[in-house]
């Protein structure tokens, strides 16, 4: 019997290596795997590359991980906000590497990894410094830049409902990067608000099928 739910946070984090590329779901505070981030802090992996839309806020979660000097590199579209204090300190001090990627190119590069695409041509960023040094070509009369797939070792995600096969639904704008990141990591780990019985999710309404999911961490304790 397939059962992807894990019994403990230690099981959820098992095997995450130093130097891993971690895909982090969420947009703003919504759909962000806060509990798994606490687990990652506890777990101890270092020298991580984080791929996420934002660069953490205040002194918790991702920001705390950075403050502990556990993140060597961040790939994101929007690192700066009023509360991204830790990131900005580290960045000014030259203690963290930053790759800025347009939000849609970020999402598309992650999808490419998930869908077996090695690279793709997009008009986004043509003529800007984010395309500096990148290969360009004209397609159908429009200049485009070559972008490559962005693979993760681990994805840390948040879902609304999950069953033991790892089928997932999301809640409103909590969907965001979670489905696409689920496809693109060697190990996809999901914190879920509600564990439901297999068959309880309508097959038409499942957003992420379990094939993309490896481990489910129930946020409210026991599985159904």
């Amino acid at each position: 019997m397939i059962d992807k739910t894990v019994a403990s946070m230690a099981d959820a984090m098992a095997g995450i290596q130093d130097g891993s590329i971690i895909l982090l779901g969420g947009f703003g505070a919504v759909g962000q795997p806060d509990t798994l981030l606490d687990g990652l802090i506890e777990h101890g992996a270092r020298n991580l590359t984080i791929v996420a839309n934002n660069a953490g806020a205040h002194r918790v979660g991702l920001a705390r991980l950075m403050e502990m000097r556990r993140v060597g590199r961040i790939v994101c579209s929007f690192p700066r906000s009023s509360s991204s204090v830790i990131f900005e300190e580290l960045y000014r001090a030259g203690e963290i590497e930053l790759e800025i990627v347009p939000q849609g190119t970020l999402s598309e590069r992650i999808r490419a990894a998930g869908a077996g695409i090695g690279g793709f041509y997009t008009p986004t960023a043509v003529g800007t410094k984010l395309a500096d040094g990148k290969e360009m070509r004209e397609i159908d009369g429009r200049m485009m830049v070559l972008e490559t797939a962005l693979h993760g070792d681990v994805a840390l995600l948040e879902a609304w409902q999950a069953d033991r096969w790892g089928n997932l639904t999301y809640n409103k704008s909590g969907r965001n990067f979670n489905p696409v990141m689920a496809m693109a990591a060697k190990t996809t780990i999901v914190q879920a608000h509600h564990i439901v019985k297999l068959g309880q999710l309508d097959p038409e309404h499942i957003i992420t099928p379990g094939i993309f999911v490896d481990r489910i961490y129930p946020l409210n304790g026991a599985a159904a």
């Binding site: 703003g28 579209s77 690192p79 800025i100 984010l130 409103k172």
Partner: protein, 212 residues
């Protein structure tokens, strides 16, 4: 000379949006456009984080923590709206499915270049978000911004000095002084705020202006 207020600028842009358009509003002043479209006119607003059909801001006590827009403000979903993933949301943006995007900007050049994500001064860790995707992807791009910077420098220019967001894509600019189309020949004045003179507009603009 009476400059348009921010609300008037938003209303001026809103009046030009036909019913049935799908529209993305950038963070900041462009967001105000939504409030200037009356609820009985069906204009469908899109937000990068996967919300299609955002409605008015909720009363604070009714805010749903799971429902925000790309500016991280609480929003509502109007009847007929839907949720999509980031992947599908940016397929909407990049695939040319939005009828319109309205962005704020630091500068717009007479050839339609736009700079709105990083200034030369503070671009050590600039935050681009979805601006480049929107500028390159929407069917048309309008810019809503003050005509000059706080210290009086023109923002409509011959050539942008700040890092570019996208090349030759702005179709129309709404400022507190005027509405201008970007044409093959450059900025073409569509309308001026009450009492703004040609001379005042020319003085506040660092590019040729075409008056009809």
């Amino acid at each position: 000379m009476t400059l348009w207020t921010r609300t008037e600028m938003a209303a001026r842009a809103a009046a030009d949006i036909p019913e049935g358009w799908y529209v993305n509003l950038g963070i900041g002043m462009p967001t105000m456009v939504a409030d200037q479209v009356s609820a009985d006119r069906e204009v469908i607003f899109h937000s990068e984080n996967g919300v299609l059909g955002t409605g008015p801001a909720p009363a604070p006590e009714d805010a749903d923590p799971w429902l925000i827009n790309a500016g991280k403000q609480h929003v509502t979903l109007r009847t007929g709206g839907s949720y999509v993933s980031h992947s599908d949301s940016f397929a909407i943006i990049r695939g040319g499915h939005l009828d319109l995007c309205v962005l704020g900007a630091f500068e717009v050049a007479e050839n339609g270049d736009v700079a709105n994500w990083a200034t030369s001064e503070n671009d050590t860790a600039p935050a681009v978000g979805g601006a480049m995707d929107l500028a390159a992807g929407a069917k048309r791009l309008w810019v809503l911004m003050e005509h000059t910077t706080k210290d009086g420098r023109p923002k409509l220019v011959q050539r942008c000095g700040n890092p570019l967001t996208a090349l030759a894509c702005v179709k129309r600019v709404y400022t507190n002084m005027a509405v201008l189309d970007i044409t093959e020949a450059g900025f073409s004045v569509v309308e001026m705020a009450p009492g703004v003179t040609r001379e005042a507009l020319i003085a506040a603009t660092q590019a040729e202006l075409i008056f009809q």
